[in-house]
């Protein structure tokens, strides 16, 4: 709660009357059961810096807010007074198609960014299944990726510049607008994935990718995770036009209309030149036949995977990261201890994500899933679960070896602990 009586007017002095959210809107900025006393929509980077400085002066805390699509990830905030949104910092700043780069403000949604770039036959290589209303800033803060990661990497791999306000209100630039640049420390890497605990991202520049001439979505039905993963790995080894790939267990596949009890569904997108995609599809068909797998061709783009990424209320979500070759074993183990879970894995990057409804409170499955995954040497992040559970266990798991260095980073960039306090690793 905001304690200082003068704070509302001070916020207003920075962002203007229209920049302060109405009281009845505040509930929509709730994080882990904590509702802020104010939500403000600054119109530019300077206002963000002013707000952060004010928070430092007044000893109040801030959680930066983009599209709000990933706010469930993290430990409960130890304190949360003000939400700072980027909804009014959302313009495209520059797109030079011939340079294959674009700069936009952090509040721009992925949907509008992709639409704008698409007109020039280009795209920002974000994951195809991220929600359209996720923002660029949120994406960078979480370094989110999915079924196309083996091909494009994560946002850290294609972000070349940023504007960033540190936790003590310093407005800084990282990187630049050129695709190759080793001048100074690579600050973008520190800010990307820092989940709003070091500062606020207000602008970013990306390397873009040309839109492929052809795409083809299909699914493969398999009786085992092993066969599904082997199929994906072989396609990849051959260098076929594999843009996106995920394995869904039967429960996850239910919503796709392609479900078959007891069967796993491998959702694949090929993309590239017309001839390349055609050949890739032919090889995939014969490989499926050789492996006695059923191939279901010609799906709508992303059809098989998309529904999995629509978040339901009252869900527990666990994200495990393992070695690619261990993906099937991990997927099986998770499925066994949490038979009611929807499980989706990306077999080329070793990410296994399980989710299930826990409307009435926690259940044993969460502990079992974490235990089994860690026993298989996976790193585990609990992306969402009932708040009571969140208060008891660190969502990011055991302390990483480099935690002391991370704490030093926090001290350097947010000395007043005003940003997303308590939310990240070791409740930093």
């Amino acid at each position: 709660m905001v304690e200082q009586a003068t704070l509302p007017s001070e916020l207003e002095a920075i962002v203007g009357t229209t920049g302060v959210a109405a009281r009845d809107e505040l509930a929509s900025f709730t994080v882990d059961g904590v509702t802020p006393g104010a939500a403000v929509n600054p119109g530019n980077t300077e206002q963000v810096a002013d707000l952060i400085r004010l928070a430092n002066d007044r000893g109040v805390t801030i959680i930066p807010w983009g599209g709000g699509t990933e706010m469930h990830v993290g430990n409960p905030p130890s304190r949360y007074d003000i939400a700072i949104t980027t909804r009014r910092i959302a313009r495209m700043i520059e797109h030079e198609p011939a340079d294959l780069t674009a700069t936009c403000e952090a509040g721009m949604t992925l949907g509008s960014l992709k639409d704008a770039l698409g007109k020039a036959g280009q795209t920002a290589p974000f994951d195809p299944h991220l929600p359209r209303d996720a923002t660029v800033g949120g994406l960078l803060a979480t370094n989110a990726s999915g079924s196309a990661r083996h091909f494009y990497g994560t946002p850290r791999d294609f972000t070349i510049g940023m504007r960033f306000v540190t936790g003590d209100g310093l407005i800084t630039k990282a990187g630049g607008k050129v695709v190759k640049n080793v001048a100074g420390y690579d600050m973008c890497k520190l800010y990307i994935g820092s989940r709003g605990t070091l500062g606020v991202i207000t602008e970013a520049t990306f390397k873009l990718a040309p839109l492929p001439a052809a795409t083809s979505d299909f699914a493969v039905r398999s009786g085992s995770t092993g066969a599904a993963a082997s199929f994906a790995m072989e396609i990849h080894r051959r260098g076929l036009s594999l843009r996106s790939v995920a394995v869904l267990n039967a429960r996850a596949a239910v919503s796709t209309s392609l479900a078959d009890n007891n069967a796993y569904l491998l959702a694949i997108q090929f993309a590239g030149t017309i001839a390349g995609v055609e050949r890739s599809l032919e090889e995939a068909k014969s490989l499926a036949a050789e492996s006695s797998l059923t191939l279901i061709p010609d799906l709508d783009s992303g059809n098989a995977c998309a529904s999995f990424f629509e978040r339901g209320e009252g869900e527990t979500i666990v994200r495990c990261s393992t070695l690619p070759a261990e993906t099937p074993a991990l997927m099986d183990a998770v499925g066994k201890v949490a038979p009611h879970a929807k499980v989706v894995a990306t077999p080329l990057t070793g990410i296994v994500r399980a989710r299930w409804t826990t409307a009435g409170g926690g259940d044993d499955a969460l502990t079992s899933v974490c235990e089994i995954a860690r026993r298989l040497n996976a790193t585990v992040v609990v992306e969402d679960c009932p708040v009571e559970e969140k208060r008891q266990t660190d969502m990011f798991g055991p302390r990483p070896a480099s935690l002391p260095l991370m704490k030093q980073m926090k001290r350097q960039f947010d000395p007043g602990k005003v940003l997303s306090p308590g939310r990240f690793v070791d409740r930093i």
Binding site: A98, K177, F413
Partner: protein, 495 residues
């Protein structure tokens, strides 16, 4: 402890030095601690003409020994500079303030190759190309390919975030390193990142490219890629430089992202031709060397698109290499370019700047103008696809005032890059040479944020002092440290 300042380096008094040497010897072994002046000389240089003599050189065999050496140096307030193969082009391995140089040549083991998961774990002294050689039987390779890849080490690559011709498509070192083991300035061994995703800040990404100022790398986990099914190399010959630089930009604008897209101008070709016999027409203005790869179908289609763009922009001839031998022949002139230039001129100044691809034609014109005005010949051979320029300015060091004039020219060219929206270094690093240009692209606040990393790593000036930032002390006086990038590279070098 007693120190005596002697011009730019801390010089140890004899007694203190004997102490330190004894400590280092007991930690690392007698034969791996060098301190006789004649033994130290080979460690005072890299591929630049900069010099900095270390007090002591140690050649540890393990992370524990590196950590021990760092702790001993810290105890005695001596700076530590890590050194790989010494092929850097910004003085990264030069111990500006003397102190201890840690050489990684004994830590050259490939610890693990995991073809199934496409990763390898290597020690810092492993030579870049040796990784690709080791994993080739599995159809894999390590993508970053700096020009010196048959001698340069992974530790050095990590420090400088090295690039190479193929980083156009595949990215720099930072895109291929997923984890590190480091020794901090406090002498602690810490693991960053790993084979799987780790929670928390991306400290690996910070250490990569920090030019040896934050930590010493003792292990790296690198990603491997499958080799492409098909690779096609094209050499497009143009009458005018302008046509070639327009074509470079147009190829990418047209939706093709080649694996490599390199350019050589007339002066470079003239230098190369007598030695390589590449068959460049004597009156051609520039050539583009373009490599496309992927599935056979993709490579063919990309090759056709590239040819169409080049013809459209008046390429007079396009040569195509399909077999490895033919492709190698097309690359020969590019790879031999710098060595050939070295035969034409007593000295040359290798510049490294980046501009947005679309600014290439304009900036290149500016580079030629500036060189004309200053009365120097320039040969441009560079990564056009990335907009990463390498003007090589030819001059004679022995001619009075020539060095100062060539440095002035270099500064002017860097200005052109920055004014076009670019950067002061694309792949060679800031080192001590370009520290004073940092303020052209970064504000005081930007650099203050960077300096916070040094504080967080408790590194201060303990590691590789005098690099990257304008505020720290550097090698010698301004004009002499600017000579850093004036290369004295041998016949096999190329940028």
């Amino acid at each position: 402890m007693h120190f005596r300042g002697k011009s730019r380096a801390v010089r140890l008094v004899v007694v203190a030095k004997a102490h330190i040497i004894r400590d280092l010897q007991s930690a690392i072994g007698r034969e791996w601690v060098l301190h006789a002046p004649e033994d130290l000389l080979v460690y005072e240089y890299d591929a630049t003409i900069e010099r900095g003599l270390p007090e002591i050189v140690v050649v540890p065999d393990s992370a524990e020994q590196v950590a021990a050496a760092v702790r001993i140096a810290r105890r005695h307030n001596l700076p530590v500079t890590a050194r790989g193969a010494g092929t850097g082009l910004s003085g990264g391995a030069i111990p500006c303030d003397g102190g201890v140089v840690i050489v990684t040549s004994r830590m050259n083991r490939i610890l693990e190759v995991d073809p199934e998961n496409r990763i390898a774990v290597v020690e810092p002294g492993v030579i870049n190309l040796d990784i690709s050689r080791a994993v080739e039987p599995h159809g894999l390779y390590y993508a970053p390919d700096p020009s010196s890849q048959n001698v340069c080490t992974i530790g050095g690559n990590v420090a400088e975030n090295s690039g190479g011709p193929h980083c156009l498509r595949y990215g720099m070192t930072t895109n291929h390193v997923v984890g590190l083991e480091i020794v901090t300035a406090e002498g602690e061994i810490v693991s960053l990142g790993g084979k799987t995703d780790t929670a928390g800040y991306d400290l690996t990404g910070i250490v990569v490219g920090s030019e040896g100022t934050l930590a010493i790398v003792t292990k790296a986990i690198v990603r491997l890629l499958y080799s492409a099914e098909s690779t096609i190399t094209l050499l497009a010959i143009f009458d005018e430089v302008d046509q070639a630089s327009h074509a470079a930009s147009a190829i990418i604008a047209g939706g093709v992202l080649p694996a490599a897209l390199e350019m050589m101008d007339k002066n470079t070709m003239e230098a190369v031709e007598p030695f390589i016999n590449a068959g460049y027409p004597p009156d051609a203005g520039a050539v583009l060397l373009i490599e496309v790869e992927g599935l056979e179908e993709d490579a063919r289609e990309q090759s056709e698109s590239v040819q169409a763009v080049c013809k459209e922009l008046s390429a007079r001839e396009i040569r195509i290499g399909l077999s490895p031998e033919d492709r190698e022949r097309l690359w020969a002139g590019r790879k031999g370019a710098l060595g050939a230039l070295g035969r034409l001129t007593p000295s040359y100044y290798i510049l490294d700047g980046v501009v947005p691809r679309t600014s290439l034609p304009e900036v290149l014109r500016g580079v030629y103008d500036a060189c004309d005005r200053h009365g120097f010949r320039v040969a441009n051979v560079f990564h056009a696809g990335d907009g990463n320029l390498h003007p090589n300015v030819m001059f004679d060091e022995r001619e009075p005032g020539a060095t100062d004039r060539v440095l002035k020219l270099g500064e002017e060219i860097m200005r052109l890059c920055v004014d076009a929206g670019g950067s002061i270094t694309g792949e060679h690093g800031v080192g001590s040479e370009k520290r004073s240009y940092m303020s052209w692209i970064f504000s005081e606040d930007d650099m203050a944020a960077m300096q916070r990393l040094k504080l967080a790593f408790s590194a201060a000036d303990g590691f590789n002092p005098g690099k990257v930032f304008p505020t720290s002390k550097g090698c010698g006086e301004v004009s002499s440290r600017m000579k850093a990038a004036i290369a004295k590279v041998g016949p096999n070098a190329y940028v």
